[in-house]
């Protein structure tokens, strides 16, 4: 019974796609398969992957969270602002993550208690949080605040046994969430609520509470992604994270998770985030103009979804 979500061939589609992409790019570019390039690539992927992991839970419950980019920006600005005023890195990081969680909880409250459709609720908070970020930063980047705080520098720029810390953060979060989805009541309930919310409620599940947790999780992970970004750039940009929700949703969908909820897996999201990262990285190595890059990314997403449709039919 353990093997109920088996490794059947259908599910390997995204993984095969990723391998093919890597093979093509390694032929086209000598730099692609180097260690340096991959560490760099994975570090870039970590930001989108962390957000997309949270997004996977939200989408599994049948919801969506458009506010992730704005949550990222506002929580980053809060952390940076506090550090600029001399608050220690540890405290500022903690408050930043907490702010992200709180914003997620607000999304959850709007969706469950307010009964606002997730798309609308998070569209509104996306706009409002972005506005608050601009108010808080006065529209200017916050810079030069953490030149001596080792903890804060570690998050985005540090190494652990030669591996960049963001990659380790991504993998740790992945493993934890993988186990949560696969082994815990929380994971099972997430699938159940997305599969049939009414039946879940009538089975005595705490539907609203679980949804609240799921949005809070996404908020926290968005804030964590923001800290990585801010630490790497050593500045908090008021426009940071704009349109990140699209890459996160794309990663989830590329991984084979159904936007209507109840069906999907987090391994797919990791692969999806890698596909997007590899594509960005490879196209840069090949000097493809950023305008064409967008066209190609869009085409890849469409292709993946079309292939997915065909196997279902």
């Amino acid at each position: 019974m353990e093997a109920k979500r088996k490794w059947d061939v259908k599910k390997l589609g995204p993984l095969i796609g990723l391998f093919l992409l890597c093979i093509v790019l390694s032929i086209l570019s000598d730099d692609f398969l180097t260690m340096d390039n991959w560490l760099n690539l994975l570090r870039q992927v970590s930001i989108n992957a962390l957000i997309a992991f949270g997004m996977t839970f939200v989408i599994l419950t049948g919801g969506i969270d458009l506010s992730v980019g704005s949550v990222l920006a506002l929580s980053s600005a809060i952390t940076a602002g506090m550090m600029a005023q001399g608050v220690s890195g540890f405290v500022a990081i903690f408050i930043g993550l907490l702010a992200g969680t709180a914003m997620g909880v607000l999304n959850g409250v709007l969706v469950t208690k307010g009964k606002v459709a997730p798309f609308i609720a998070t569209l509104a908070t996306m706009t409002a949080f972005r506005g608050l970020t601009l108010v808080y930063t006065d529209g200017r980047p916050i810079t030069g605040f953490a030149s001596d705080d080792i903890m804060f520098q570690m998050i985005g720029r540090g190494y652990f046994f030669g591996i960049p810390v963001p990659i380790i953060l991504m993998l740790v979060v992945y493993i934890v969430l993988y186990i949560v989805l696969k082994k815990t009541t929380f994971g099972r309930h997430t699938y159940a609520i997305g599969g049939n919310e009414e039946a879940s409620r009538l089975s005595g599940l705490r539907v609203d509470r679980l949804k609240m947790y799921v949005y809070a999780l996404t908020g926290t992970l968005s804030a964590l992604a923001g800290l990585i970004l801010t630490s790497r750039l050593n500045s908090a940009q008021p426009t940071a994270g704009t349109a990140y929700e699209l890459d996160a949703i794309a990663a989830v969908v590329l991984g084979g998770t159904s936007l209507s909820g109840g069906r999907g897996w987090i391994f797919g999201t990791l692969v999806g985030a890698l596909i997007i990262g590899v594509l960005n990285n490879g196209l840069n190595l090949l000097n493809v103009s950023s305008f064409y890059q967008q066209v190609i990314k869009g085409a890849v997403i469409l292709l993946a979804v079309l292939l997915d449709r065909r196997k279902e039919a």
């Binding site: 815990t184 049939n196 039946a199 009538l202």
Partner: protein
Amino acid sequence: MRPLIEMRSIQKSFGDNTVLNGVDFEVLPGEVHALMGENGAGKSTLIKVLTGIYERDGGTIVVNGREVHYRHPKEAERDGIVVIHQELNVIPTLTVAENIFLGREPKIGRTGVIRHKEMEQQAASYLRRLGMDLNPRELAGRLSVGKQQMIEIARAISTNAKCLIMDEPTAALTEREIQALFSVIRTLKQQGVAIVYISHRMEEIFTICDRISVLRDGQFIGTKQVKETNFEEIVQMMVGRQIGERFPKRNVAIGEERLRVERLTRKGLFENVSFSVRAGEVLGVAGLMGSGRTEIMEAIFGARSFDEGNIYIDGRPVRIRSPRQAVEHGIAMITEDRKQKGLVLDMSVHENLTLPKLEQLAAAGFVQSSKERDVVLTYIHLLNIKASSPDLPVKALSGGNQQKVVFGKWLAMSPRILILDEPTRGVDVGAKKEIYDIINELAAQGVAVIMVSSELPEVLGMSDRVMVIHEGKVQAILENDGLDQETVMRAATGGNI
């Protein structure tokens, strides 16, 4: 008379699985022909082969004396064969007339501008001819299910249908709507339209049909004239054995009062509902559809709020504000609509079975798979759920087996009070009997059972007492002591007992 449709020696397999093996089926003009069989017997496959959704592997289909090979239901419709599905294809935001003429609207020249007046007049004339009491201008979404079904029938007739295939047409209808449907069916018969009537409801089939054809395990068992057969013979043809008494007797010592409901009121839905159920007792709840039966049960289960009233369990007042609290008080509810409210269709049999009690099977949030497997195997065995593997998605099971999964999921939490809302809807005869046995077994174990049902024979066959709801009020609570259908029906329609 030359048959309208003649299917001979139809063969159909999916892989190694033979679904139809030499099935013969013929339909004469102007007859109502019931197609019966347990779930999985091959009824739907036969219809899908006829209308071209599936390609047949062997056999012939002759329509109007011409052999046909439909590749799409549209081609069958061109020959006048139309299927009215259980899930209706009516667009709620369009009017009755717009629905009837959807895709074939009369237009001004080739402009695409619809001639509304003409369309409404034509719709009105079809409706009149069929004796349907419908306003062509009304929005379909405002109409009851029964009237929406009328729209589909009118649409079929307006395309010159010669044969209507109706799949469980009365499943969602009230008694009055069923009578209206039967009168339309009789009108259609007179006009020479043939009806293929697929249903599990024996009483209706014996009321409205002329002939009955029975399938079992993909085999054609036989065709009988309704006048020359009886209930027992048909059931035996369907299940291949005698199933014994339809409603098995139960000898249970009825115990203490378990649940008492006092003056439960929700404005506009139900008022002053008071009743009680005792341990080991089955309380049947009858009433027309829309009388508030389901709403009352939902309120007791915490799925719907109420304005006033009290609920007592074992004599103590309880506050139930959510299904979760109801579950904590030992109440289970098997809902009327298992697909919408009972099951997570994409999940496996095993995940559905443990859904309400997963937390008890977990330690520190981690599901203990060995414990879970024990529970799952126990209930699959106990309820005789036919699934090749517990990991099969529950949507792959037949209706009867799905319903057993719903039972299993609630039995796993050992309820003390069990509310059943239409427990055998869409379930075939064999599985029905099994469900009745389960209910009796639970009562014997001291569970207090409340059973809401629209099938009066079932209510009378299973209950110790019968509560009749009329327009949100308790019209009567009757001891089931030689009670007859007429008495219950009279109360359900507001008559005094």
